[in-house]
Amino acid sequence: MSSKRIGGNPSLRRGLGSKTTDSEKIMEDPPAGDWLALRSDQFLKWIDNAVYNAAEATGMREVVDRVTRPIFNYAQRFSPHPLHFGIMCCAIEMGQASAPDHDIDRLGLVYRSSPRQCDVLIVNGPVCEKLRPKLKTLYEQMPEPKWVVAMGECAISGGPYWDSYSVVAGADTFMPVDVYIPGCPVRPEALMHGFLTLQKKIREKEPGLFLRR
């Protein structure tokens, strides 16, 4: 490529970095052959728009979504990685659920220790006021798509501590909860049933993942 092409349109060069409104205008409709003069973040946004518009206009996005949706959905359903996070006695039952008697690994549950690698947050115990901001932070650190399972009476409504001075009355007062599993404590079979319910919920939702906006 010649230096003349990199230099490009003088009006485009003036627009870069001077004002954001100018650069926005240029990014929407860059002249042909002059995309080499864009900054890297502008280039990414421009190419993203271009590919999305082309895929949307030709109907390619819908086609790819329809083909890949069952595959991605199957993968999401059968690998809900929960966060290895225990609060109280329901955490013991959670450990028992992955023991050989109730081998919950066959549903694809692999406990991960970092919230960055997780899909499901299991709230298994009473959330006290001191824990609430930390739990909220853990939830926000998890990447999308994510689900929350409220396990046991304490996480559903506060349980026996609902009237207490330091226990929050239910996890759904500060984060969205998808599946409630009643029990005090929850038996491993009930936890398994809760995760089957979550699988059903993911299957019904079926989000397309190709070029998602």
């Binding site: 006021e129 001191k130 009237d163 207490s164 001075y165 330091s166």
Partner: protein
Amino acid sequence: MEITKFMKKLSSHKGVSDVALIRDNVVKLDLGKEDSKDFFISLKEDYGFEHCSLISAIDNQPQFELVYHFSVIEGSIFIKDSPKTVMIEIHIFLERDTPTIESVSDLWFGANWHEREAYDLMGIYFLGHPDLRRVLLPEGFAGHPLRKDYVYEIHEEEW
């Protein structure tokens, strides 16, 4: 030192009353609030009570009661001519409008968090404590919830 002799020595201290043996190796006594620090210093230096097991606070209305448990592990105190582990149980009564006492966390470092817990839940103020903050409840919590006259609905709006 035989345990009966030890009890006699204890009762000669200032502020000590009702020295009794409530089990084979557990001595119980009542102590006045003003003489507590001198007694605790001599308890550690002279008799070798190295271990602070527990500091708990009780609200028997109207006054508060502090219960200290210290123990000496096979040290200078003998039961039937052999050194045994002896525990001492000290009761101190505090008035309701002045729930303050001198801290013992400079003598026993393990007392630090026990005193913070008693401050957090019962509102006992330990004078000379290096870091008297709440330990179980969040910062900014209003009131001390294990007091008998604590009403959550009054303090709910405050924090």
